[in-house]
Point group: C2
Chain length 198, copies 2
Amino acid sequence: MLQAREAAIVTSVNRLLAEKGYDAMTVDAVAADVGIAKASLYKHFASKEALAAAAMAAVLDRALARIGELEARADGPPPVPALEQLKAMARWAMQAQLAGEMPTLPAENSSLRQALVADRGYRDRLLEVSERLGAWIEQAQADGALNPRLPGELVLYTLFARGCDPVLGLLRASGQYDDDTIVELLVSSCFDGLAAGP
Amino acid sequence: MLQAREAAIVTSVNRLLAEKGYDAMTVDAVAADVGIAKASLYKHFASKEALAAAAMAAVLDRALARIGELEARADGPPPVPALEQLKAMARWAMQAQLAGEMPTLPAENSSLRQALVADRGYRDRLLEVSERLGAWIEQAQADGALNPRLPGELVLYTLFARGCDPVLGLLRASGQYDDDTIVELLVSSCFDGLAAGP
DNA sequence: GTCTATAACCAGATAGAC
DNA sequence: GTCTATCTGGTTATAGAC
């Protein structure tokens, strides 16, 4: 029962975090959404930051699960090139954001960021996601599929950032494209660039 | 004197906004930074939102000034292709952000966003920047310099977003690259993409 | 216009009964 | 563990003297 309740809390936090952002999300709103009193929330999580860290860790767990699925798929046949795996993860993150399931990347200055890096559960998962994606990036570089002038670090950070790209929301707000089209346009602009090929 | 004081206020707001973000920026901090009492601030600006709107409008004014410089340069000889003008604006925005002079793009959900679109001064400037950049985008498309599969809207939004790209800060935090290198890497990844050319 | 002082409010966190 | 009620700190905004 306790596990189920905490899962329900994390689910609510995840949605509210994606919807309103960390600062605008109030603990009162979380309690109301879960349907319990605020004081009860604090029996499960020590602080608002702990709530957010749990939700962010859950997001990373879903990312790891998706990575696992893609790795299983890659064993083929046919074998899937590493670049395609990276694109698939970008698509997954963008779709999650459009579906309102992806809390936005915390800014460096944010008070949230300090709390997250201090949270072991979050940090460990972030490290693992980075390592798994890093392996694909190195493979794609070895394949000659990535621009050799760009450091792997930049590619990794860019993938994280594109999962929260505000351009997604702006394009949706324009009302001219459906979600699948938006994702394909963004993936294309991310991997192939804005400029025309030579 | 009044003009000078208000300019000093806007300068402080701009820096604090870039440094801490809208929510974390307190009116007390602005007053302390300017060196006047908080009540005096409210004689100049009606609300915190009005403070932010003035600072954001000032950013757009600087962007318009930069656009004007680039247009003058374009008359050549040699004439400058529109794509190069767009890259120059991306560089300008990224450099401004690294210099701590660029407040971050307000998220759609943000309370700030509503205030900004309700502010005539901000809205008019945003429209003009969009039109001026839009003209370059259309020209670059006509030149065949932009990927024809991408709508102009996406290119415009992407340029706005890249000026506030969190990847800039992440790369700087890695400590491995100087600011000029970071900007060139980001411009390259934005226009030419992560993937290797064909 | 600038100041000191304070009002009004809201959000995170806690006390203590059950 | 859950609740109601409250505390505490901080933030926006204003009053009123000078």
